[in-house]
Symmetry: D2
Protein backbone atom coordinates (compact mmCIF):
# COMPACT_ATOMS: atom_id res chain seq x y z
CA UNK A 1 0.00 0.00 0.00
CA UNK A 2 1.27 3.45 -0.87
CA UNK A 3 2.26 5.56 2.11
CA UNK A 4 -0.60 8.07 2.66
CA UNK A 5 1.99 10.57 3.92
CA UNK A 6 3.08 11.60 0.43
CA UNK A 7 -0.44 11.54 -0.96
CA UNK A 8 -1.64 13.77 1.89
CA UNK A 9 1.32 16.16 1.55
CA UNK A 10 0.54 16.57 -2.14
CA UNK A 11 -3.17 17.09 -1.47
CA UNK A 12 -2.42 19.80 1.09
CA UNK A 13 0.06 21.49 -1.26
CA UNK A 14 -2.45 21.53 -4.13
CA UNK A 15 -5.33 22.67 -1.89
CA UNK A 16 -3.34 25.61 -0.45
CA UNK A 17 -2.77 26.86 -3.98
CA UNK A 18 -6.23 26.04 -5.34
CA UNK A 19 -4.57 24.11 -8.15
CA UNK A 20 -6.94 21.14 -8.34
CA UNK A 21 -8.90 23.02 -11.02
CA UNK A 22 -5.95 22.60 -13.40
CA UNK A 23 -5.41 18.93 -12.59
CA UNK A 24 -7.71 17.31 -15.09
CA UNK A 25 -6.51 13.81 -16.07
CA UNK A 26 -5.53 15.17 -19.50
CA UNK A 27 -3.48 18.05 -18.07
CA UNK A 28 -1.78 15.65 -15.68
CA UNK A 29 -0.98 13.28 -18.56
CA UNK A 30 0.54 16.19 -20.52
CA UNK A 31 2.53 17.18 -17.44
CA UNK A 32 3.92 13.66 -17.03
CA UNK A 33 5.19 13.73 -20.65
CA UNK A 34 6.65 17.21 -20.17
CA UNK A 35 8.55 16.22 -17.03
CA UNK A 36 9.62 12.88 -18.55
CA UNK A 37 11.34 14.84 -21.32
CA UNK A 38 13.13 17.07 -18.79
CA UNK A 39 14.43 13.85 -17.22
CA UNK A 40 15.47 12.58 -20.66
CA UNK A 41 17.26 15.89 -21.27
CA UNK A 42 19.79 14.90 -18.57
CA UNK A 43 20.92 12.23 -21.05
CA UNK A 44 20.47 14.20 -24.28
CA UNK A 45 24.06 14.01 -25.50
CA UNK A 46 25.52 11.21 -23.39
CA UNK A 47 24.74 8.20 -21.27
CA UNK A 48 26.16 9.68 -18.06
CA UNK A 49 24.24 12.37 -16.33
CA UNK A 50 24.40 14.56 -13.25
CA UNK A 51 22.78 12.34 -10.60
CA UNK A 52 21.26 15.21 -8.61
CA UNK A 53 19.58 16.58 -11.74
CA UNK A 54 18.26 13.10 -12.59
CA UNK A 55 16.79 12.68 -9.08
CA UNK A 56 15.10 16.06 -9.25
CA UNK A 57 13.53 15.45 -12.65
CA UNK A 58 12.48 11.93 -11.63
CA UNK A 59 10.79 13.46 -8.57
CA UNK A 60 8.79 15.74 -10.89
CA UNK A 61 7.60 12.83 -13.02
CA UNK A 62 6.66 10.83 -9.91
CA UNK A 63 4.82 13.81 -8.43
CA UNK A 64 2.53 14.15 -11.43
CA UNK A 65 2.04 10.36 -11.53
CA UNK A 66 0.92 10.39 -7.90
CA UNK A 67 -1.41 13.33 -8.56
CA UNK A 68 -2.98 11.44 -11.48
CA UNK A 69 -3.33 8.24 -9.46
CA UNK A 70 -5.09 10.19 -6.70
CA UNK A 71 -7.33 11.93 -9.26
CA UNK A 72 -8.33 8.52 -10.65
CA UNK A 73 -8.86 7.17 -7.15
CA UNK A 74 -6.27 4.41 -7.48
CA UNK A 75 -3.39 3.25 -5.31
CA UNK A 76 -0.16 3.69 -7.33
CA UNK A 77 1.46 0.63 -5.75
CA UNK A 78 -1.59 -1.48 -6.53
CA UNK A 79 -1.79 -0.59 -10.21
CA UNK A 80 1.93 -1.32 -10.57
CA UNK A 81 1.46 -4.75 -8.99
CA UNK A 82 -1.63 -5.41 -11.13
CA UNK A 83 0.26 -4.50 -14.31
CA UNK A 84 3.19 -6.68 -13.26
CA UNK A 85 0.91 -9.70 -13.32
CA UNK A 86 -0.12 -8.86 -16.87
CA UNK A 87 3.51 -8.36 -17.92
CA UNK A 88 4.43 -11.67 -16.28
CA UNK A 89 2.22 -13.50 -18.79
CA UNK A 90 3.48 -11.47 -21.78
CA UNK A 91 7.11 -12.18 -20.86
CA UNK A 92 7.44 -15.73 -19.45
CA UNK A 93 10.83 -15.91 -17.74
CA UNK A 94 12.06 -18.89 -19.77
CA UNK A 95 11.40 -17.10 -23.10
CA UNK A 96 12.31 -13.55 -22.09
CA UNK A 97 15.48 -14.24 -20.09
CA UNK A 98 18.35 -11.97 -21.15
CA UNK A 99 16.41 -10.59 -24.13
CA UNK A 100 15.08 -7.07 -24.65
CA UNK A 101 12.80 -8.25 -27.48
CA UNK A 102 9.23 -6.94 -27.40
CA UNK A 103 6.66 -9.57 -26.45
CA UNK A 104 5.05 -9.77 -29.88
CA UNK A 105 8.38 -10.86 -31.34
CA UNK A 106 9.33 -13.34 -28.60
Amino acid sequence: MTDPLVRDALRAFVAEREWAQFHTPENLAKSISIEAAELLECFQWNADADTDAVKEELADVLTYCLLLADRLGVDPDQIVLDKLELTRTKYPADRARGRSTKYDAL
Copy 2:
Protein backbone atom coordinates in the same frame (compact mmCIF):
# COMPACT_ATOMS: atom_id res chain seq x y z
CA MET B 1 8.66 5.52 3.16
CA THR B 2 7.92 3.59 -0.01
CA ASP B 3 6.51 0.13 0.56
CA PRO B 4 9.37 -2.35 -0.04
CA LEU B 5 6.78 -4.85 -1.33
CA VAL B 6 6.57 -3.25 -4.76
CA ARG B 7 10.29 -2.59 -4.97
CA ASP B 8 11.03 -6.22 -4.10
CA ALA B 9 8.41 -7.56 -6.53
CA LEU B 10 10.01 -5.52 -9.33
CA ARG B 11 13.51 -6.65 -8.37
CA ALA B 12 12.45 -10.30 -8.45
CA PHE B 13 10.67 -9.85 -11.79
CA VAL B 14 13.74 -8.21 -13.36
CA ALA B 15 16.15 -10.75 -11.86
CA GLU B 16 14.15 -13.74 -13.15
CA ARG B 17 14.48 -12.36 -16.65
CA GLU B 18 18.06 -11.13 -16.36
CA TRP B 19 16.89 -7.69 -17.49
CA ALA B 20 19.01 -5.54 -15.19
CA GLN B 21 21.64 -5.37 -17.94
CA PHE B 22 19.24 -3.25 -20.02
CA HIS B 23 18.25 -0.98 -17.15
CA THR B 24 20.90 1.70 -17.42
CA PRO B 25 19.67 5.08 -16.10
CA GLU B 26 19.56 6.36 -19.69
CA ASN B 27 17.49 3.43 -20.98
CA LEU B 28 15.11 3.82 -18.04
CA ALA B 29 14.77 7.55 -18.76
CA LYS B 30 13.96 6.77 -22.41
CA SER B 31 11.43 4.17 -21.25
CA ILE B 32 9.71 6.67 -18.96
CA SER B 33 9.27 9.07 -21.91
CA ILE B 34 8.03 6.27 -24.14
CA GLU B 35 5.41 5.13 -21.62
CA ALA B 36 4.42 8.72 -20.78
CA ALA B 37 3.52 9.17 -24.45
CA GLU B 38 1.42 6.00 -24.44
CA LEU B 39 -0.45 7.50 -21.48
CA LEU B 40 -0.82 10.79 -23.38
CA GLU B 41 -2.16 8.86 -26.38
CA CYS B 42 -5.29 8.02 -24.32
CA PHE B 43 -6.08 11.76 -24.61
CA GLN B 44 -4.77 12.35 -28.15
CA TRP B 45 -8.03 13.59 -29.69
CA ASN B 46 -10.12 14.41 -26.63
CA ALA B 47 -10.09 15.24 -22.97
CA ASP B 48 -12.05 12.15 -21.91
CA ALA B 49 -10.32 8.84 -22.00
CA ASP B 50 -10.95 5.19 -21.23
CA THR B 51 -10.13 5.00 -17.51
CA ASP B 52 -8.85 1.42 -17.62
CA ALA B 53 -6.44 2.30 -20.41
CA VAL B 54 -5.25 5.36 -18.46
CA LYS B 55 -4.62 3.27 -15.33
CA GLU B 56 -2.64 0.69 -17.29
CA GLU B 57 -0.44 3.25 -19.02
CA LEU B 58 0.07 5.15 -15.75
CA ALA B 59 1.17 1.86 -14.18
CA ASP B 60 3.81 1.49 -16.91
CA VAL B 61 5.19 4.98 -16.29
CA LEU B 62 5.27 4.37 -12.53
CA THR B 63 6.98 1.01 -13.01
CA TYR B 64 9.88 2.52 -14.90
CA CYS B 65 10.07 5.41 -12.41
CA LEU B 66 10.37 2.92 -9.54
CA LEU B 67 13.03 0.96 -11.44
CA LEU B 68 15.03 4.15 -11.98
CA ALA B 69 14.66 5.22 -8.35
CA ASP B 70 15.94 1.80 -7.25
CA ARG B 71 18.82 1.97 -9.74
CA LEU B 72 19.80 5.37 -8.31
CA GLY B 73 19.44 4.05 -4.77
CA VAL B 74 16.79 6.56 -3.77
CA ASP B 75 13.42 6.24 -2.07
CA PRO B 76 10.76 7.50 -4.51
CA ASP B 77 8.59 8.91 -1.72
CA GLN B 78 11.53 10.74 -0.23
CA ILE B 79 12.60 12.47 -3.46
CA VAL B 80 9.00 13.56 -4.05
CA LEU B 81 8.83 15.09 -0.55
CA ASP B 82 12.25 16.72 -1.00
CA LYS B 83 11.18 18.25 -4.32
CA LEU B 84 7.92 19.45 -2.76
CA GLU B 85 9.91 21.59 -0.34
CA LEU B 86 11.74 23.18 -3.25
CA THR B 87 8.49 23.78 -5.12
CA ARG B 88 6.96 25.30 -1.96
CA THR B 89 9.51 28.14 -2.11
CA LYS B 90 9.08 28.65 -5.88
CA TYR B 91 5.30 28.87 -5.54
CA PRO B 92 4.38 30.67 -2.29
CA ALA B 93 0.69 29.95 -1.65
CA ASP B 94 -0.32 33.62 -1.47
CA ARG B 95 1.17 34.39 -4.89
CA ALA B 96 0.38 31.12 -6.67
CA ARG B 97 -3.17 30.60 -5.45
CA GLY B 98 -5.55 29.82 -8.33
CA ARG B 99 -2.90 30.55 -10.97
CA SER B 100 -1.20 28.14 -13.36
CA THR B 101 1.51 30.68 -14.17
CA LYS B 102 5.08 29.36 -14.17
CA TYR B 103 7.15 30.51 -11.21
CA ASP B 104 9.43 32.79 -13.21
CA ALA B 105 6.39 34.81 -14.29
CA LEU B 106 4.67 34.95 -10.89
Copy 3:
Protein backbone atom coordinates in the same frame (compact mmCIF):
# COMPACT_ATOMS: atom_id res chain seq x y z
CA MET C 1 11.52 17.70 -52.94
CA THR C 2 12.77 19.40 -49.83
CA ASP C 3 14.44 22.74 -50.42
CA PRO C 4 18.23 22.16 -50.14
CA LEU C 5 18.56 25.70 -48.75
CA VAL C 6 17.49 24.69 -45.25
CA ARG C 7 19.40 21.42 -45.31
CA ASP C 8 22.56 23.24 -46.37
CA ALA C 9 22.10 26.02 -43.78
CA LEU C 10 21.79 23.37 -41.06
CA ARG C 11 24.84 21.48 -42.35
CA ALA C 12 26.95 24.64 -42.31
CA PHE C 13 25.72 25.57 -38.83
CA VAL C 14 26.59 22.12 -37.45
CA ALA C 15 29.94 21.99 -39.24
CA GLU C 16 31.03 25.41 -37.90
CA ARG C 17 30.46 24.12 -34.38
CA GLU C 18 31.81 20.61 -34.93
CA TRP C 19 28.54 19.23 -33.56
CA ALA C 20 28.08 16.32 -35.96
CA GLN C 21 29.86 14.11 -33.43
CA PHE C 22 26.89 14.47 -31.07
CA HIS C 23 24.28 13.86 -33.77
CA THR C 24 23.98 10.10 -33.62
CA PRO C 25 20.51 8.91 -34.69
CA GLU C 26 19.75 8.01 -31.08
CA ASN C 27 20.76 11.43 -29.73
CA LEU C 28 18.70 13.10 -32.45
CA ALA C 29 15.69 10.91 -31.57
CA LYS C 30 16.07 11.90 -27.90
CA SER C 31 16.32 15.55 -28.94
CA ILE C 32 13.12 15.32 -30.99
CA SER C 33 11.25 14.00 -27.92
CA ILE C 34 12.75 16.67 -25.71
CA GLU C 35 11.76 19.50 -28.03
CA ALA C 36 8.32 17.95 -28.66
CA ALA C 37 7.68 18.20 -24.91
CA GLU C 38 8.74 21.86 -24.87
CA LEU C 39 6.15 22.43 -27.61
CA LEU C 40 3.56 20.51 -25.57
CA GLU C 41 4.42 22.67 -22.54
CA CYS C 42 2.87 25.65 -24.37
CA PHE C 43 -0.46 23.83 -23.87
CA GLN C 44 0.22 22.32 -20.43
CA TRP C 45 -2.69 23.93 -18.59
CA ASN C 46 -4.93 25.10 -21.42
CA ALA C 47 -5.83 24.68 -25.06
CA ASP C 48 -4.81 28.21 -26.05
CA ALA C 49 -1.18 29.04 -26.22
CA ASP C 50 1.12 31.92 -27.09
CA THR C 51 1.49 31.57 -30.87
CA ASP C 52 5.05 32.90 -31.00
CA ALA C 53 6.17 30.39 -28.38
CA VAL C 54 4.45 27.58 -30.30
CA LYS C 55 6.19 28.58 -33.55
CA GLU C 56 9.57 28.67 -31.85
CA GLU C 57 9.21 25.28 -30.22
CA LEU C 58 7.81 23.77 -33.44
CA ALA C 59 10.90 25.12 -35.23
CA ASP C 60 13.10 23.25 -32.74
CA VAL C 61 11.28 19.96 -33.33
CA LEU C 62 11.49 20.44 -37.11
CA THR C 63 15.19 21.30 -36.90
CA TYR C 64 16.06 18.03 -35.18
CA CYS C 65 13.78 16.12 -37.58
CA LEU C 66 15.63 17.62 -40.57
CA LEU C 67 19.00 16.80 -38.96
CA LEU C 68 17.91 13.18 -38.46
CA ALA C 69 16.56 12.90 -42.01
CA ASP C 70 19.90 14.20 -43.33
CA ARG C 71 21.82 11.80 -41.07
CA LEU C 72 19.77 8.90 -42.45
CA GLY C 73 20.24 10.16 -46.01
CA VAL C 74 16.54 10.59 -46.68
CA ASP C 75 14.46 13.41 -48.12
CA PRO C 76 11.99 14.54 -45.42
CA ASP C 77 9.30 15.38 -47.97
CA GLN C 78 9.68 11.99 -49.61
CA ILE C 79 9.32 9.95 -46.44
CA VAL C 80 6.21 11.95 -45.51
CA LEU C 81 4.67 11.23 -48.92
CA ASP C 82 5.67 7.55 -48.68
CA LYS C 83 4.08 7.24 -45.24
CA LEU C 84 0.93 9.00 -46.48
CA GLU C 85 0.41 6.20 -48.97
CA LEU C 86 0.60 3.66 -46.17
CA THR C 87 -1.80 5.67 -44.03
CA ARG C 88 -4.19 5.96 -46.97
CA THR C 89 -4.69 2.19 -46.93
CA LYS C 90 -5.05 2.02 -43.13
CA TYR C 91 -7.68 4.77 -43.15
CA PRO C 92 -9.91 4.44 -46.23
CA ALA C 93 -11.80 7.72 -46.59
CA ASP C 94 -15.24 6.11 -46.56
CA ARG C 95 -14.59 4.33 -43.26
CA ALA C 96 -12.47 7.00 -41.55
CA ARG C 97 -14.48 10.08 -42.47
CA GLY C 98 -15.17 12.29 -39.45
CA ARG C 99 -13.81 9.70 -37.01
CA SER C 100 -10.69 9.89 -34.85
CA THR C 101 -10.81 6.15 -34.18
CA LYS C 102 -7.51 4.28 -34.52
CA TYR C 103 -7.28 2.06 -37.58
CA ASP C 104 -7.37 -1.21 -35.68
CA ALA C 105 -10.78 -0.26 -34.29
CA LEU C 106 -12.27 1.07 -37.52
Copy 4:
Protein backbone atom coordinates in the same frame (compact mmCIF):
# COMPACT_ATOMS: atom_id res chain seq x y z
CA MET D 1 10.39 27.74 -49.35
CA THR D 2 8.67 24.52 -48.44
CA ASP D 3 7.44 22.51 -51.40
CA PRO D 4 3.66 23.07 -51.63
CA LEU D 5 3.32 19.52 -52.99
CA VAL D 6 3.53 17.89 -49.56
CA ARG D 7 1.41 20.56 -47.89
CA ASP D 8 -1.29 20.13 -50.53
CA ALA D 9 -1.15 16.32 -50.37
CA LEU D 10 -1.68 16.51 -46.60
CA ARG D 11 -4.52 19.02 -46.95
CA ALA D 12 -6.31 16.78 -49.45
CA PHE D 13 -5.79 13.71 -47.25
CA VAL D 14 -7.21 15.48 -44.19
CA ALA D 15 -10.11 17.02 -46.13
CA GLU D 16 -11.18 13.65 -47.64
CA ARG D 17 -11.48 12.27 -44.12
CA GLU D 18 -12.97 15.38 -42.49
CA TRP D 19 -10.19 15.28 -39.90
CA ALA D 20 -9.47 18.99 -39.64
CA GLN D 21 -11.95 19.16 -36.75
CA PHE D 22 -9.51 17.09 -34.64
CA HIS D 23 -6.45 19.10 -35.64
CA THR D 24 -6.50 21.81 -33.00
CA PRO D 25 -2.99 23.14 -32.26
CA GLU D 26 -3.11 21.39 -28.88
CA ASN D 27 -4.10 18.01 -30.36
CA LEU D 28 -1.37 18.36 -32.97
CA ALA D 29 1.18 19.18 -30.26
CA LYS D 30 0.11 16.08 -28.31
CA SER D 31 0.39 14.03 -31.52
CA ILE D 32 3.92 15.27 -32.17
CA SER D 33 4.97 14.13 -28.68
CA ILE D 34 3.25 10.78 -29.13
CA GLU D 35 4.97 10.10 -32.45
CA ALA D 36 8.31 11.38 -31.15
CA ALA D 37 8.14 8.70 -28.46
CA GLU D 38 7.40 6.00 -31.04
CA LEU D 39 10.56 7.16 -32.84
CA LEU D 40 12.48 7.06 -29.53
CA GLU D 41 11.17 3.52 -28.95
CA CYS D 42 13.31 2.33 -31.89
CA PHE D 43 16.28 3.12 -29.62
CA GLN D 44 14.76 2.07 -26.28
CA TRP D 45 17.31 -0.59 -25.36
CA ASN D 46 20.21 0.20 -27.70
CA ALA D 47 21.84 2.82 -29.86
CA ASP D 48 21.36 0.90 -33.10
CA ALA D 49 17.92 0.67 -34.58
CA ASP D 50 16.10 -0.74 -37.59
CA THR D 51 16.55 2.03 -40.19
CA ASP D 52 13.21 1.39 -41.92
CA ALA D 53 11.36 1.67 -38.61
CA VAL D 54 13.22 4.90 -37.79
CA LYS D 55 12.32 6.41 -41.19
CA GLU D 56 8.65 5.51 -40.75
CA GLU D 57 8.40 6.97 -37.26
CA LEU D 58 10.31 10.09 -38.31
CA ALA D 59 7.81 10.49 -41.15
CA ASP D 60 4.98 10.45 -38.60
CA VAL D 61 6.60 13.17 -36.49
CA LEU D 62 7.26 15.30 -39.58
CA THR D 63 3.69 14.81 -40.80
CA TYR D 64 2.19 16.22 -37.61
CA CYS D 65 4.78 19.04 -37.61
CA LEU D 66 3.74 20.02 -41.14
CA LEU D 67 0.06 19.86 -40.18
CA LEU D 68 0.72 22.16 -37.22
CA ALA D 69 2.76 24.59 -39.31
CA ASP D 70 -0.09 24.75 -41.85
CA ARG D 71 -2.64 25.23 -39.06
CA LEU D 72 -0.57 28.16 -37.71
CA GLY D 73 -0.17 29.56 -41.21
CA VAL D 74 3.63 29.38 -41.18
CA ASP D 75 6.18 28.02 -43.64
CA PRO D 76 8.09 25.21 -41.87
CA ASP D 77 11.33 26.02 -43.69
CA GLN D 78 11.04 29.68 -42.75
CA ILE D 79 10.53 29.11 -39.03
CA VAL D 80 13.52 26.74 -39.00
CA LEU D 81 15.70 29.38 -40.66
CA ASP D 82 14.38 32.07 -38.31
CA LYS D 83 15.15 29.94 -35.26
CA LEU D 84 18.63 29.16 -36.64
CA GLU D 85 19.46 32.86 -36.49
CA LEU D 86 18.44 32.95 -32.84
CA THR D 87 20.48 29.82 -32.08
CA ARG D 88 23.47 31.34 -33.89
CA THR D 89 23.64 34.10 -31.27
CA LYS D 90 23.14 31.71 -28.34
CA TYR D 91 25.94 29.43 -29.59
CA PRO D 92 28.75 31.54 -31.13
CA ALA D 93 30.91 29.15 -33.14
CA ASP D 94 34.14 30.06 -31.32
CA ARG D 95 32.63 29.27 -27.90
CA ALA D 96 30.44 26.32 -28.84
CA ARG D 97 32.83 24.45 -31.12
CA GLY D 98 33.03 20.75 -30.22
CA ARG D 99 30.98 21.22 -27.04
CA SER D 100 27.48 19.93 -26.28
CA THR D 101 27.14 22.28 -23.31
CA LYS D 102 23.84 24.17 -23.04
CA TYR D 103 24.10 27.87 -23.87
CA ASP D 104 23.51 29.08 -20.33
CA ALA D 105 26.60 27.19 -19.20
CA LEU D 106 28.88 28.20 -22.08
